[in-house]
């Protein structure tokens, strides 16, 4: 594998809610055009990590660097709007579309902070996900679960981000839809975007990831390529439910 640019570097961060510290020194790295999965048991701090990267919670110490103008720059104190402008995008776990807005309006909201190039972006999303074009005038609450995830991802893609953070994209979906969601994620990767996934459904995610991290009690436990993690006996027994 050729050497790629690092686009996100999270270095030894501590974070939590108020007095409660949840992350005790987590470090991850993401390279260009890579799918990275974070797995770990409930309460290990996966969601906290995402929120901290996306500026919804402030890290108490440690560094978060993001590739801005070809240079890793600290984004610790960036607000959400700024992070979106610099090419970071976030898709929450559930309720990740605007139900009463039409599909087209949902996509418009994706480029709310920067309107130039909006119609081209919408067209390219329709090329990527033709089903959305068919239903462009329908409100998003008429979409199926899988189509909603598709729309949520498309919305996150509107400003051509460098990195999309996905919080449990397969949560609450029927098993046969899970693979279609991961197909969508691979489509996004092909479009040149890196994806950071936090998943309970570790197997499905790791199979399609370039690399993965295992968190436990707010710290890094293991990391490696997705395939190696899947083979790892300890992880298999702890998090993948296999003996």
């Amino acid at each position: 594998m050729q050497k790629k640019n690092k686009i996100l570097e999270v270095n030894n961060i501590f974070s939590g809610y108020g007095e409660t510290e949840i992350l005790h020194g987590v470090s991850i790295e993401i390279y260009e055009n890579e799918i990275v999965t974070i797995i770990g048991p409930n309460g290990c701090g996966k969601s906290t990590l995402m929120k901290t990267i996306f500026g919804l919670i402030r890290a108490t110490s440690g560094n978060i660097d993001f590739l801005i103008n070809d240079e890793l720059t600290s984004i610790n104190n960036y607000d959400t709007e700024n992070l979106i402008k610099k090419g970071l995008s976030y898709v929450p776990q559930s309720d990740n579309v605007f139900p009463s807005l039409s599909i087209e309006e949902n996509l418009e909201m994706g480029s709310f902070i920067k309107e130039e190039g909006m119609s081209e972006s919408i067209e390219s999303m329709y090329d990527l996900f033709p089903i959305l074009k068919e239903k462009r005038k329908d409100p998003a609450n008429q979409l199926s679960g899988g189509q909603r995830q598709m729309l949520a991802l498309a919305r996150a893609m509107m400003l051509k981000p460098k990195l999309i953070i996905l919080d449990e994209p397969s949560a609450g979906l029927a098993p046969n839809l899970v693979s279609s969601v991961f197909e969508t994620i691979l489509t996004i990767q092909k479009a040149g975007v890196s994806v950071l996934i936090v998943e309970q459904n570790a197997k499905a995610a790791l199979e399609r990831s370039n690399r993965g991290y295992v968190l436990a009690t707010g710290e890094n436990k293991v990391d490696g390529t997705g395939k190696n993690l899947l083979k790892n006996k300890e992880i298999a027994s702890l998090y993948l439910g296999r003996k």
Partner: protein, 338 residues
């Protein structure tokens, strides 16, 4: 469309019952309820609480317009003997015409409307920044916010009473005959002006909500505030926009009602709150289109009821509608937010 069909059927029924005159009156009065109801329902959808001070916003707008539009502005403090009067701003500038075309009012009253809108919207924004936002950031529940708006309502009315006194006021006007529309329908010309203006404003609101960036961000925030935030929508800005829109509609409603009823007093808006809330509940709380239709139904029901019962009880009709909706169809006709 179901709505159009029920409208035509009910209109036909009113002719059969011989109450078409009251029906049209109610329809036109309903449009002005709609201006208030749309504001309350949007505030509920986006700021997430029942804005009880909305009626007093309307009253305040009439009193804000007063010194702009009226030729003799009498200031009568409640507690001071040295009352005084002065000439209103527009009459001072030579605009003192009354009885524009077929209407009772003149240009000064109309010109005062945009000024009242701007001032009331500024007051609403200041209240948002210094009261409601502070309470929200402190984690106050929506009940606390509603109660605090109740306090604001009393405060605003108190301010109005302290400055202008409690007596009836009116904009400069001359009497004009009713307009005979044929088919046994005769309405005061001001009521037609009120209805057309209110419908025009509702249409503008519809346009803003459906086709502008500001309106879309309002609908998105109402749908899912957390997602709106991570999409980069500045939720606080959206809330400010909502206050501005709601206050402008309320200002216009307050002045239109004052023109139509030929008088106003500090309790005016407070009394309007019952039919307006009934309209909001009937249409489905949080649904602007529901609020519009709800307001028309409440207006028509209240006016038509006066054919059969003492007009003094027409407010009770609004109450009964609200109670019935809450019992039978709590999400309202068009379905509201939970």
């Amino acid at each position: 469309m179901k709505v159009m069909l029920s409208f035509i059927i009910s209109l036909g029924l009113s002719f059969i019952l011989g109450v078409q005159d009251l029906y049209v009156h109610g329809l036109l009065i309903g449009t002005v309820f709609a201006l208030g109801a749309i504001g309350i329902t949007l505030l509920y959808a986006i700021v997430k609480f029942a804005h009880v001070a909305h009626g007093d916003f309307m009253t305040l707008a009439a009193y804000i317009a007063f010194p702009f539009a009226v030729s003799v502005v009498k200031i009568e403090y409640v507690s001071y003997a040295d009352n005084f009067s002065f000439t209103g701003l527009f009459p001072l500038l030579g605009l003192d015409q009354v009885g524009l075309w077929i209407f009772t009012f003149g240009l000064p009253t109309l010109l005062a409307i945009p000024f009242a809108m701007i001032i009331l919207a500024s007051i609403a924004v200041l209240l948002e920044i210094f009261v409601y936002r502070k309470l929200r950031n402190r984690g106050s529940s929506d009940v606390m916010l509603a109660m605090s708006s109740f306090g604001i309502a009393i405060l605003l009315r108190g301010i109005v009473q302290t400055i202008f006194g409690t007596q009836l006021r009116s904009f400069d006007r001359i009497s004009k005959p009713f307009l005979d529309l044929g088919l046994g329908i005769a309405v005061p010309p001001d009521l037609i002006f009120l209805g057309l203006t209110a419908i025009f404003l509702c249409f503008i609101t519809h346009y803003i909500l459906q086709y502008t960036k500001i309106g879309k961000s309002m609908r998105a925030t109402s749908d899912n505030p957390d997602l709106a935030m991570v999409t980069g929508i500045n939720v606080n800005k959206v809330i400010i926009n909502t206050w501005i829109l709601a206050a402008c509609l309320a200002a216009c409603a307050g002045i239109l009602v004052s023109i139509f009823s030929a008088q106003f007093m500090p309790q005016m808006g407070w009394k309007l709150l019952i039919p307006i809330f009934a309209a909001v509940v009937l249409g489905g709380v949080g649904n602007a289109y529901g609020a519009f239709i709800g307001a028309l139904i409440v207006g028509i029901s209240m006016e038509v009821s006066t054919e059969y019962i003492n007009p003094a009880y027409k407010l009770a009709i609004a109450f009964i509608i609200m109670l019935l909706v809450l019992l039978v169809k709590p999400r309202g006709l068009l379905g509201g937010k939970d």
